[in-house]
Amino acid sequence: MDDLLREFLTETNESLDVVDVELVRFEQDPNNAAILGNIFRLVHTIKGTCGFLGLPRLEALAHAAETLMGKYRDGSPVTEQGVTMILQTIDRLKEILGDLEGAGAEPEGEDGDLISQLEEMSMAADTAPAAAPVAQKAPPPVAAPEPAVERTLRPGEVSLDELERAFRETEAEVAVAPLPEVAAPSVVPEAPKVEAKKPAARPAKAVAAGGDDEIEGVKGQQTLRVNVDTLEQLMTMVSELVLTRNQLLEIVRRHEDSEFKVPLQRLSNVTAELQDGVMKTRMQPIGNAWQKLPRIVRDLGNELGKQIDLDMHGAETELDRQVLDLIKDPLTHMVRNSADHGLEGTEQRRLAGKPEKGTIKLSAYHEGGHIVIAISDDGRGLNTDRIKKKILEQNLATEAELEKMTEAQIHKYIFAPGFSTAAAVTSVSGRGVGMDVVRTNIDQIGGTIDLKSVPGEGTTVTIKIPLTLAIVSALIVESAGDRFAVPQLSVIELVRAQQNSEHRIERIKDTPVLRLRNKLLPLVHLRQLLGIAGGEPLDETAGFIVVTQVGSQTFGIVVDQVFHTEEIVVKPMSSKLRHITMFSGTTILGDGSVIMIIDPNGIASAIGTDVSTEASEKEADSRRGNERQLISMLVFRAGSREQKAVPLSLVTRLEEVAVDKIEQAHGRHLVQYRGALMPLVSVSGFMELRSEGSQPLLVFSDSGRSMGLVVDEIVDIVEDALNIEVSADVPGLLGSAVIKGQATEILDIGHYLPLAFEDWFKRKEMRIEALTRKLLFVDDSPFFRNMLTPVLKAAGYDVVTAAGGSEGLDILKGGDRFDVVVSDIEMPEMNGFEFAEAMRSDKRFATTPVIALSSLTNPAAIERARVAGFHDYVAKFDRQGLIAALKETSNEIAQAA
C-alpha cells in the first residue's frame, strides 16, 4: 500500500467518525446550517479524494450521500429516514475502507441498493419547496458509475470535484470567480450546484472560525501522525532514562562534594521534563472514547423506540491512552446498558410523570491523580426485587443472606459473572456478559467502580481510574530490612512515633493504634502483615507511620524507616506472584535493586480494622457465608518466620518432648510416645530440631496411630474468621489467610499424614476391604473438602468429593453406588436441604443415608434437615461426631440388610 493511500485511509476514517457524530447532532438540530455545512464538507472531501485515487465504489456512495445532503442544505425538510440512510452509507463506506486497508484495493461489490435509495430520497426531497434546480438532479446516477471519466481528464484539466474542493479550501473569495468558468464547459449540468454552494459555504466557514475548533484545530495546528509503537518505544526508553537518572542520583547522594552534582541536577530536570512531555503525547481527551457513543445511542433509541438524549461533559479531560483503550469498551457497554435497561419507554416515562425524552449523562473530571467518570441516567433505577430473584436463581446467595444485605449490596451483584436482569434478551444487551467484564477491566487498571441507584430516579455508575499506569511517585520505606514502595497517591502524611513523645503507639489488647489529632488511627505493622523478620527488632512503641487512605478508610502502616520519594516505573509482577494481594507490582530502584510496590487496597482489606461501609460491603460480596464463620485455629511457627496455622479441631494434642528422646531409624525421626513409636514430620521437609531442651510437637492421631509435626513454637490459639486465599499446587499448604492482621499459612494436614505412614490411607482400606464403603462428600468450600477428606479416608471410606449440590447429584446420577453421603448445608446454587430433597425424590438414592454437616446447629435447622431427609446432623468441626454418625448409619444399614 502506498503512503498516499494509507494517509487517505487514516484521514477518511477520522472524517467519517466526525460525520457520524455530526449527523446525530444534525438530526436533533436540523436547522443548524453550520453542522450541515461541516458534514457536507467532510463527505465532499472524501468523495473528491476517492475520485482522485480511483476508488469508484467509495466515490459513488459518497456522491449519492452528498447529493441528499445537498438537498437538506438547500432547505428540504430533514427526515429521520434520510439521516438513517446517510448513516448506513457511512457504515458501508467504513466497510469498504476496512477491506481497502486489508487488501490494498477496493473490494468487489455493488452499492446500487444504497445509491438508488439515496437517490429516491433526493428526489423526494426535491418535491419540497426549496428544491430549485430539479431538472439538474437527474445526472447523479450517471455521474456515479462514471468516475473513470473524471479520472481520464487530459493533463492540465481538473475534475469538477477537485475544483470544488480547491474552491472551498481556498479561503479567498477571489479564487472562486474564475473556477466555474473552467469547469463549466466540461460538466455543464452540475454548474448550478457550484453556484448554489457559494452562499452556503460561507456561513459554514464563519461557524468554523467561530466555534468548531475540531475542524479548525486540524487545519490550524501543526500536527504529525506518529505510530503508536514509536510512542510506546519512546515511553519505554524514557522509563529506562528515569531509572538511570535515579541511579546516578543515588550515587551522588553518597558523595557529598561531587562535581557531578550540578550537571546531574540539570539532567534530572531535563529528564523530568522529557518524561512529562512523553507522557503528554500519550494523553488523549476522553472524548475520543466517547466519539462513537452519540451514534450508538441514536441507533439504540430507534431500535428500542425510546427517545434518548446523550449529555456529555468534560470530554476534554485527558488520560493516558493505555488507560483510555482499556475503558473504551466498558464505557460503551455501560451506556448501552443505561439506554436499554435504565431508561423506560416513552409511554412509561409519561406515566411516571417524567419528560418523554430520557437522558444519559456522561461526565469526566480529574480528581487528584485519578480521573472520575460518571455514567448516569434518569431512568427507572435498578430493580432490587428482580436482582434478588436472579441472585437466588443463580444461587449467588441464599435468601437468608439477602435478608441481611442493604440495597446497595444487592445492587452490586450486577457485577457478578453471567448476571443479567434483562427479562428479554435484546440484540442490545441482556446476554449476561457485560457488567462483570466491565468490572474486570476496571479492576485490571487499578480502578474502582461504584453504583448508586434510586428507584424511579435513575442509576449512576462512577468509575475512578488512575491517570497513568506507567510511572508513579512512590515513597520508599523499610521494614524488617527490606525496602518497599508505597504509592504516594494514597499516602496522606507521615508521622514519627516515639516513646515519650506526643505521638506514640498505644495498644488496645493487641491492636496497635495511634492518637492523631484527637482521633484513633488503626495501625498495622508492615513486617507482621507480610510475615517477614530481620533488621532491627520490632519496637513496640516507636516507628514511622505512613498514614494511608483507601476510599473512606484511613489507617497507618508502621515501618522502620522512611527514605525518600522516587518516581518509579511500575513493572508488572510475575504471574507467580500475582496472587499476593499486598503487592501491586515491582520496580527497580536507583541503586538497581528490585523492590515490591505495596498495594494499599490489599493492606486495607487485610487489616479490615476500620469496618467502614465499604469494607463491610466488600465482605458481603465475598459470596460464601461459611468462610466468615469463626474457626479456632492453632497458630505456630515452623521452619520459617511465617506464621502457620491448622484448625484446632484436627490437632489431638500439643506435646513437648525432650530432644534427646528423639531417635533416628531408617532416615526418619521417631519418638517413643505412649508406648509406641511415633514418626516425626517437619513442615519444610528438612528436619530442623532443636539442639537441646525440649521440642514442641503437634500430635495428630487417628485409630491408634499418631504423627508428630515438629514446630518451632506455638504462638497462640485464635478464633478468627478464616478467609483462605487458596493457593494452588503448594504441597502441604491449603493457602494463606490473614489471622489477627498477620499473614498466616494454613497447613494441609492431609499432606503430612502419608509422610509419616506411607500406608496411612491404604492400611484402612486393606483391613476393611470387604467393608470399604463409598462416600460422597459434598461441600462447596475447598478448605473443608481438603480438610475432611483425609479424615474420612482414614475412617475407611472411599471418598468422592463434589463442590456443590448439583455436582453431587450429577455424580450420583453418574451411576456409582454410594453407601453414604455427607453434605454441607450452606452452599451456593443448591443448598444442602435442596440437595437432600432432590436425592429423596429420586428412587435410586431415596434410601441412601445422608448426613448433614453444618455450623448451624440450632433446633430449627436440625428439624429442617430431618424434614429434608437427612439421617443425622453433625456440627461442622465435630470430627469425632462425624465418624460416630457414619459408624451408626453403617450399622443401621448392616442391620437392615
Binding site: I532, L577, I588, V594
Partner: protein, 152 residues
C-alpha cells in the same frame, strides 16, 4: 530442541546438590550470577525472590527447595540459569553450571518409578552417562507451581 538429523538433543548441564541435571539448550536464555536478590514476602516457598537482570525483573526459583534438597549452611546459590516462559523471565538458582552435552535418545530413559515425587514432578527422564546419571529438567514443570490459576 533437535539440532541434527539423528535426534541429538543439546543440554546445558547444571549441578544441584551434587546431582547432575540437564536443561534443553533451546530453553536456556543465559547463565548469570544472581546478585541482590529481593525476597518477596508471602510468596511460594520455592520462590527465592526477584532480581534485576539488565533492567528486566527476573523471578528466581530456588531449585534446591524445589527439589527438596537441604541448603548447605551459608552456601549462597552461586549461579542462575535464565529461562523465559510466556513473556516472563525466570532464573533457576543452581550450584554450578557444567558443559553442554549432546545426547542421543538412546541413552535416555523414563523416570524410575521410585523417584522422589518432588523430582519426578520436574523431571522429563534420565540420561545414562558414563559414570553418572543426568536428570532432564522439564522447564515448564519447574515453573508450574502456585499462582498459576490466579494469573490465568
Amino acid at each position: 530442541m533437535q539440532t541434527t538429523s539423528d535426534d541429538v538433543t543439546e543440554y546445558v548441564t547444571v549441578l544441584i546438590g551434587g546431582q547432575l541435571f540437564g536443561l534443553p539448550i533451546s530453553r536456556v536464555q543465559d547463565v548469570f550470577m544472581p546478585d541482590r536478590l529481593t525476597r518477596v514476602p508471602l510468596s511460594h516457598p520455592d520462590i527465592a525472590g526477584v532480581l534485576n537482570l539488565r533492567g528486566r525483573i527476573v523471578t528466581a526459583i530456588d531449585m534446591r527447595i524445589r527439589l527438596g534438597i537441604p541448603r548447605e549452611k551459608d552456601a549462597k546459590p552461586a549461579m542462575a540459569v535464565g529461562i523465559e516462559s510466556r513473556g516472563e523471565s525466570y532464573g533457576l538458582l543452581i550450584d554450578s553450571v557444567g558443559e553442554v552435552l549432546k545426547l542421543s535418545p538412546d541413552s535416555r530413559e523414563k523416570n524410575p518409578i521410585n523417584l522422589d515425587v518432588r523430582w519426578a514432578r520436574v523431571s522429563a527422564g534420565v540420561h545414562r552417562l558414563d559414570g553418572q546419571l543426568m536428570v532432564i529438567l522439564d522447564v515448564d514443570s519447574v515453573l508450574a507451581m502456585g499462582g498459576e490459576q490466579l494469573a490465568a
